[in-house]
Amino acid sequence: MDTSAETASRTLTLEAFADTFVPGEKRSPDDVAIAGAAPGPGAVMAGAIELLEMPATGVASGLDDIVSTLNDHASDYAAEHDITLDAAVPPFVALDYEHRSALMRILTAPDHPEKEFWVLTALFCFMAFDTAAHMNTVRAMENGHPGLTTMGFAKPDPDGLWRFPDFSYGRQLARAHPATTPNGDPA
């Protein structure tokens, strides 16, 4: 493969990986990386690849290994399950969502020797979706970040700080434990 093909293959594989954890809808009918397993944008659209590529995460320098190892596992998985893979795309991308998901369950199971490696990488895919950790949070809210928007994360005040003046039901909703001390502690 030439360099641009390698880059494309690497990106497709990482996108398919991220999409397995927080799945989203396809960007176009011929989207092969995103499996389309859930409505609305998922980890890829939320910026998972951008976050994984940031040196601050500590995983960026290992992404080539992640891609090649994942594709090796996918080839083995396909062979074991009698699945014929489309050779035009990387092996993990060639798996459908059900099989991508099943493979990730195997690789992140407590007894798998590579578990930590896969969990760590998955963690950043989640963080791209539910924290937009690759960008300023106020800007993410302004731009309608897909993950924070999906979660209904509240908007900040104009100064970029969050305040909730409406915060309490304002009434007693339970009685205290009878053994509470006068000071308010457990006895």
Partner: protein
Amino acid sequence: MTNARPTHTSAEQTDIVVIGSGFGGAITAYHLAAGGAKVVVLERGPWVPSDEFDHGFELGTSSTRIFDFVAGDGMSVLGGNCVGGGSVVYFATMPRAPGFVFERQGSIGRRMWPSVINRDTLDPWYDRVTEALPISHQTWEQVPYPGGLWAAACNHAGRTANLPNVAIDVSKCTNCNWMMAGCRFDAKRSLLLNYLPAAVSHGAEIRPLHEVQKISKADGLYRVHYNVIDDEDYRETTGGGAIDAKIVIVAAGTAATPVILQRSEADLGKMPHGVGRYFSGNGERLNTAIIDEEKAREVLGLSRPDGRAYAANQIGRGPTVVSWDHLDGSLPEFSRFALEQLYFPPGLGTILAQAPGVEGPGWFGPEKKEMLRHWQSWLTIFILSEDNNEGVFGPPPPTGNSVRISQQMLGRGALAYEPTKETLHGWELADAEIKDILERDGLARVRPWTNDLVGAYTVHPLSSCRIGDDPATSALDHRHELRGHPGIFVTDGSAVPGALTVNPALTIAALAERAVPGIVRAAQERGIPVKYGAPAPDGATSAARAVMPLLPALVAR
């Protein structure tokens, strides 16, 4: 200092070095500096002022600068990494430990706590911290929606629910729930607002980004070796040095103190058996409930001014309401627990949550994504139970207490933890109780967080270098002095003998207050001109006066 031997190159000298600036370090540093000793505090994290406490998740903002997540084998530990330590990132919930906790035996066949410490004898020291921070009561009018919902659900199920005391000035609080990134509004009474500035005003010197690696000996003194850490990329070291002192106080945090002591063993000699053993995660575990908004209205009669019943996961200030129905000393050990409503920010607070009703792991996939769509209707319930002190630290990493993976926050440590059947039993009872309360009448669907990914997890690590009467199972005597190494004291969460069934910060702080008179005596014996008797950092004296009659018993070995 002049010394011909190459291994004893000259080092800076002070009376007392304090390692760490959380509760155990700040409290001791304040009293010793106020009493006249020359004190240097070495803190591995940055010194972040209030206006740099960000509202944001971006890598490199205060949420990653001041917070550490150290993954181990079966247990991951979350903690502070900044001047002020855990007090800067914590939720400031400050209950006293129930009386039965001090009688716990765990699995060692005898009382874990020193015989001289029980709730009654610790109360005067709790009072000192209460006055110093200060700690205050909450009212129902101040309880944010998630706490109110938990209270209403407990009440509906025939349970009680309490408002624990807090170290928060609620009049300044905006209920923004960014507490884990530091309090921008100075509502949270962290150590940056009391003990630490008071220590500095008495001449204590605090050095941020100084990560202590080990302690050795030099001409009758202890020599504390440190690396200077880059202020942005904590994986990088920019320098290093050493300071000699007559007394060393190790308060680097439960996940770091034993590592420093283990690494010092080659220089200082054999460490007590309890160093790096008996770690407790405070029996912690989380469940996430997805509240049915209509049921919250129908079953609990709840509604907000805008018409919604709840949808307020993001609103509040961490935990505000707790069920103490199972803090009953007549129940057998390993079946007692508190159930506390909690907020956990997205990121670490979302990946481990599992979609209810999914067969097998429910932490990823379409159902988990659907669960995230209802994030504002989540209610997180925090179990604080009695674990069995299962944690053991393996050989130390090359530096610090972990091999840092990310620039900030994420690292891999040497702690191993395999829960025993006793711990698992407590979790099972607590999970069932949460389910019973919250799934009643269709109010919610609940599932515990998975332990398959990063093992169990704790925000309240304890006991890795604990006090006790039995040298075989405790690293410290009741005065917090390291057995076999006179002049080294440990005063952080690692000194607490076991799980407390409640949030531990107040107990850690009270023990540090209690340890000070003994440290003062040890300092005096080494010729340091220091006295005990400072008031609270703001000058209040009533709790200080109350402990004075207790001092003779405290300094006795």
